[in-house]
């Protein structure tokens, strides 16, 4: 397990003045502007912001899928220059491969990421057992042999979460993993994710447009402005854990909600 015994206040991920322009029709379109923030090891950071403000883009810079136009992202000691094996990412859509059964979809990272890929043949049974365990943890026991099109959208989203976790990444990047789900499933998965995180204490950066979700899950909530995305507020959430759905109706929760809302309002031009 990651994070064991290391100082908890060490900055594990640092965005340093990250600006990113997309080239579009020969013009530069600024997606995110001058984002600086740091994430402690084992911290659960949520970045909230309106649609199109550059949340996905920001996560992709941390995943090494796109290079910032200016600034850099550091994970551990080094600047991110490409995808890192200690990072797991779940995308906005589940993006499961339709010719693979759920179990095989979850196992995919172990076929690719070192050092698992070298051992894959020998350890296949152990890896499958680990995947089954993870699937059971998100409530997908019994669905291992279904194809993606044979399970619901929410179940696909759970499987995609398992795929992001199977290689035990130290840093988990989640791009609106629950955005497309109904309220019941979404709140169910908040709890699933919280439980997994409390057990394993990986570092999480989750982006969402849902402030309730942000406060429920986060140690720290950052809010971004509309495009080009800039940080407009940083709010620590020190509600006790494990948080329950009832907690979202307590005065403390509501107060945090309103505090963030107010800051977002002030951040507007």
């Amino acid at each position: 397990m990651p994070a064991g015994g290391r100082p908890a206040d060490e900055a594990f991920v640092r965005f340093e003045g990250v600006t990113l322009d997309y080239a579009h029709d020969g013009r530069a379109v600024r997606a995110v502007e001058d984002i600086s923030l740091s994430v402690r090891r084992g911290e659960f950071v949520v970045i909230a912001g309106p649609s199109g403000c550059g949340k996905t883009t920001l996560l992709k810079t941390a995943a090494g899928l796109v290079r910032p136009t200016r600034g850099e992202v550091r994970v551990g000691a080094a600047a991110v220059a490409g995808p890192l094996k200690i990072v797991g990412m779940a995308f906005q859509n589940p993006i499961l491969l339709p010719w693979r059964r759920t179990l095989d979809n979850v196992l995919l990272p172990l076929e690719i990421v070192a050092p698992y890929r070298e051992r894959y043949r020998r350890e296949q049974a152990a890896y499958a057992a680990r995947a089954r365990e993870l699937l059971a943890a998100v409530g997908l026991a019994g669905f291992e042999d279904r194809f993606p099109w044979q399970i619901s959208g929410g179940q696909q989203q759970r499987a995609s979460l398992c795929r992001a976790l199977i290689h035990q990444p130290e840093l988990l990047l989640l791009d609106e993993p629950f955005g497309a789900l109904d309220a019941f499933t979404r709140e169910d998965l908040w709890q699933v994710l919280q439980t997994l995180w409390m057990e394993r204490r990986f570092t999480v950066i989750l982006v969402t447009h849902d402030l309730r979700e942000a406060i429920f899950l986060a140690d720290t909530v950052y809010v971004m402005s509309a495009r080009p995305g800039r940080l407009v507020s940083r709010t620590p959430v020190d509600l006790p854990r494990p948080r329950t759905l009832e907690d979202t109706f307590t005065p403390a929760f509501t107060a945090t909600y309103h505090a963030i809302r107010r800051q977002v309002g002030e951040g507007r031009p």
Binding site: A63, N93, P98, P109, V113, F147
Partner: protein, 260 residues
């Protein structure tokens, strides 16, 4: 709806049209008193099939053999070249114009050359079947690779996958339904190629049978050959449609568009 009713709904219209056409053909031939050496009716054609069934069987088997041999070569070669073209832009740029030029040449024009190289017989038929059915397979497989969803690539790239990993893990599986879809088109073309080559340069095969029958003015036998050719074409197409359906169960779930 029961299975029987559904089957009836699917099969009745084409069966009805075929029966009606045969009926019109027979009646027309009789009413206008068209002689057999110009246009034999279905009954005369059937009689010819029956009379010559040994020769037809022998030659049809030969045609089936050359068709499938050429088609098998085209599958292997087409898959290989399609993957290479889809994998490497360099290979694509280098070979694509050549392939298009090659595909534009009518294959009948090549048969005499094949005869010079291989003599009259089985080899030119197999070669023609191969040449004519090879191109659609290449194009389809390359299309499957060229239209790889960027999201799928991102999933693999985020894990640090190499280009080769991406090719193996999603490129090949993604191109398979395109490959299977191209089979039923390609097998029909291979069949056409084999029959053409046999009419020009063979002493066996259903094409040869028809050519020699027409040289002897045995017009009912020519028509018997035509009917057998049509039936074989339909059977081959249907067989590979079933193969395709079997092999690409998931593709039919609307996950992937099938290029023709």
């Amino acid at each position: 709806m029961t299975g029987l009713q559904r089957a009836a709904r699917e099969w009745l219209p084409p069966a009805g049209v075929i029966v009606a056409a045969l009926l019109a053909w027979e009646l027309g031939v009789r009413a206008l008193r068209v002689p057999d050496y110009i246009l034999p009716g279905p009954i005369a054609t059937w009689q010819a099939i029956w009379q010559w069934h040994r020769a037809i069987w022998f030659n049809a088997a030969q045609t089936l053999y050359t068709t499938l041999a050429g088609f098998a070569l085209a599958l292997a070669g087409g898959m290989g070249l399609g993957l290479a073209i889809g994998y490497s832009t360099l290979v694509y740029r280098a070979l694509y114009p050549l392939l298009v030029a090659f595909n534009s040449v009518p294959k009948v024009a090549i048969v005499p050359v094949l005869v010079i190289w291989f003599g009259i017989g089985t080899v030119p038929a197999i070669a023609t079947a191969f040449l004519i059915s090879f191109f659609p397979i290449v194009v389809n497989v390359a299309t499957g690779l060229a239209t790889l969803e960027p999201e799928w690539q991102d999933v693999l790239r985020s894990l640090g996958a190499s280009r080769w990993d991406i090719f193996r893990k999603i490129g090949i599986p993604r191109s398979l339904p395109y490959f299977f879809a191209s089979m039923k088109v390609a097998v029909t073309l291979a069949f056409v190629g084999a029959v053409i080559a046999e009419t020009v340069a063979s002493n066996r095969g259903i094409g040869y049978l028809m050519l020699s029958a027409s040289a002897r003015f045995e017009v009912p036998l020519v028509f018997a050959g035509l009917v057998v050719v049509a039936l074989m074409g339909v059977v081959l197409f249907a067989a590979f449609s079933i193969v395709e359906r079997r092999l690409t169960g998931w593709a039919y779930r609307g996950q992937v568009g099938i290029g023709a």
